[in-house]
């Protein structure tokens, strides 16, 4: 998976930090954003292979970000993993509608997240 670029979006600096460390140590290139709006700009300019985003964020939340990404040709196929600390899980329907690859509840295991990222990117590479 080396050289694959992952955009990590969270308003919690510590979460971004820990995910970045985990991914970088496994050969990923990591770009980070602290809210949806910033992430959308980075997604357009950096063309990441995958996005890991928090759901609840200031300025623009995770849903809004994915919705905007799906509207744009350049970003509409980028796989998204959503991290959420919400007390209820994201509806399957919404997940399918927005083409969210996977959801991970907080607290999460970085190891598990890494595995999910690798799986999704692997499947994507096969599909291509």
């Amino acid at each position: 998976m080396s050289g694959k670029k992952v955009l990590v979006v969270d308003d919690e600096i510590h979460i971004i930090h820990v995910v970045a460390i985990k991914l970088r140590s496994n050969g990923f290139e990591v770009v980070t954003a602290s809210n949806g709006a910033q992430a959308y700009e980075l997604a357009c300019s950096e063309n990441p292979d995958l996005i890991v985003t928090d759901f609840q964020m200031p300025v623009m939340d995770g849903f809004e970000l994915v919705r905007k990404l799906r509207e744009k040709e350049q970003t509409k196929d980028i796989p998204v993993i959503m991290l959420t600390a919400r007390s209820f899980s994201i509806e399957q329907e919404q997940k399918e509608q927005l083409n969210i690859s996977d959801c991970l509840g907080k607290p999460f295991s970085p190891k598990e997240l890494l595995k999910k990222i690798e799986d999704i990117l692997y499947q994507k590479s096969i599909a291509n």
């Binding site: 919690e12 510590h14 995910v19 460390i21 991290l83 919400r86 607290p107 999460f108």
Partner: protein
């Protein structure tokens, strides 16, 4: 001598008219006067005749005078009788009247004591004749009096019951089986816009527009189902405000167990609904807030265990993150518990004279790094050190921290947060205020910012929070310290939050807690 005897005899009938009692007094005076004149005339004539010793002429004159006297007495007697009969008739007439004058009856009883047998007999006859009737009328009169009393009592009870119904805060509407309104209280009148005091017997459909809320239909349905109680939730639009009412309709049954009406009680549950929604939001929010530091703790500890921290420095950094996030988690839990403790009155308060200026200095120092992180300047005005207040140091410190951290949280980078304390000697208060150049609070939200779990929608995304910080401030200042919190704000310009506490010397020792 015979004349004298005759004359005296002639006086007897006159005496008989001397009747005790006010109705005959005038007549009696005439009778006495006539008798006196008669005595004088008789004496004068008799003496003259006696001295003349002419028996023949004297005798004739005596007879003439005697006859005149007798005639006068007789006419007096006749007049007396006439008056008496008229009086008795009038007494009899009075008995037939509904308005019996009791004092008049007692007068008659007095007359019974007179020596006039005729009057006594007549009076007794009249009394006997009307005796039964008199009792009957008295009975009737008593019954009327009882009824009047009962009516007055019932009217009083009715007014009392009505005023109870009118004063109930919930709206009450009672209709009969034909949809006619029987009673409605003030709240109902206000709710459906009708004059609640002058609407009895009017059709409920005339008074309430059912097109929006289906309330009348609900009442009819309840009556039809005959169920004792039926519950319904009603949304009523009052101006721009939507209010939610919990409506319970209860059927009224008559003695044959037929439904003869429906009583509806409408209780405003808008606030309860709001509180319930806020609680749900709070649970969702708190769980998010709890999970966020927990997520960091879990992730970093896993990294440590997996030996992902390549260097000692990194390991230390990971440990620091775990520690700070654990502390954050603890603060959040403390906040929740503090609010709950203060609300339930279980918190231990240790009040002593403290200086707000000293507390401000301490807390500002603590928050300096947080402010610097966000590139915000904290400005302290020249603080007065003698502003002693009688308060719990830890609690007031908590208040200052909450106000300061809120100000920093909602102020964009480059902004300023000013904290100042002033002493108002006249009103005996010490006032602390924190002014920021932050996002500000919309007018509609300003009255609610101290409510528990309340978060300003427009600012929700600008910073995280539990909606507990300001509520805790209010509870500590107002409930524990008998002070007052205040807020002023303008969107885009900034906010001022603060509180007033009584100066220590003015404070009366003996608090609520």
């Amino acid at each position: 001598m015979q004349n004298l005897i005759f004359g005296v005899l002639g006086l007897i009938p006159g005496r008989n008219f001397y009747i005790k009692g006010r109705y005959f007094s005038k007549f009696c005076r005439i009778a006495v006067m006539v008798t006196a004149i008669e005595v004088c005339v008789l004496l004068a004539v008799s003496l003259a005749l006696w001295q003349d010793s002419g028996f023949g002429g004297g005798w004739r004159l005596a007879v003439l005078v005697g006859s005149v006297t007798a005639a006068a007495c007789g006419s007096c007697l006749g007049w007396g009788w006439y008056k008496l009969v008229r009086e008795i008739k009038s007494i009899a007439g009075k008995f037939g009247d509904e308005n019996i004058d009791v004092s008049y009856v007692s007068d008659l009883q007095e007359e019974k004591q007179t020596d006039n047998a005729v009057i006594v007999k007549l009076y007794e006859a009249i009394r006997n004749r009307f005796k039964g009737k008199n009792n009957y009328i008295a009975d009737l009169e008593n019954q009327i009096k009882d009824l009047q009393l009962n009516i007055r009592l019932l009217q009083k009870q009715r007014l009392k019951t009505e005023s109870i119904i009118y004063s109930v805060r919930d709206a009450i509407i009672v209709i009969d089986e034909y949809d006619k309104l029987l009673i409605a209280n003030e709240s109902a009148g206000k709710l459906f816009n009708f004059d609640f005091k002058n609407c009895q017997q009017r059709s409920i459909t005339e008074l309430i527009d059912d097109s929006r809320n289906g309330f009348v239909e609900f009442l009819r349905r309840s009556r039809k189902t005959r169920a004792r109680h039926t519950k319904y939730e009603l949304e009523i639009l009052k101006g721009d405000e939507s209010k939610i009412f919990s409506c319970i309709a209860s059927c009224i049954h008559d003695e044959k167990n037929n439904v003869c009406g429906v009583v509806a009680v409408l209780h405003d549950v808008t606030r309860e609904k709001e509180v319930s929604r806020m609680k749900n939001d709070f649970v969702s929010h708190v769980s998010h807030e709890l999970k966020t530091p927990l997520a960091s703790i879990t992730a970093y500890s896993e990294m440590l265990l997996e030996d992902e921290a390549g260097t000692e420095e990194m390991r230390k950094e990971f440990c620091t993150v775990i520690q700070s996030q654990a502390q954050r988690l603890n603060r959040l839990i403390e906040d929740i518990l503090n609010v709950s403790r203060i609300e339930s009155g279980l918190v231990k308060v240790e009040k002593k004279p403290i200086s707000l200026a000293v507390l401000i200095k301490e807390q500002t120092r603590m928050l300096k790094s947080y402010a610097e992180e966000k590139n915000i300047t904290i400005v302290e005005n020249e603080l007065i050190v003698y502003d002693q207040v009688y308060a719990d140091k830890d609690m007031i410190s908590q208040v200052i921290v909450n106000l300061l951290s809120n100000a920093i949280k909602y102020t964009p980078a480059g902004g300023t947060v000013k904290i100042e304390a002033e002493v108002d000697e006249i009103s005996g208060l010490s006032r602390l205020s924190v002014t920021d150049t932050g996002v500000g609070i919309p007018e509609d939200d300003i009255d609610h910012v101290f409510d528990k779990f309340y978060r300003v929608d427009a600012n929700k995304e600008k910073a995280k929070g539990t909606g507990l910080g300001l509520n805790l401030v209010k509870q500590i200042i107002e409930k524990v310290h008998n002070g007052r919190v205040f807020v002023r704000s303008k969107v885009g310009i900034g906010s001022t939050f603060g509180f007033e506490l009584p100066l220590a010397k003015k404070e009366v020792v003996g608090e609520k807690m």
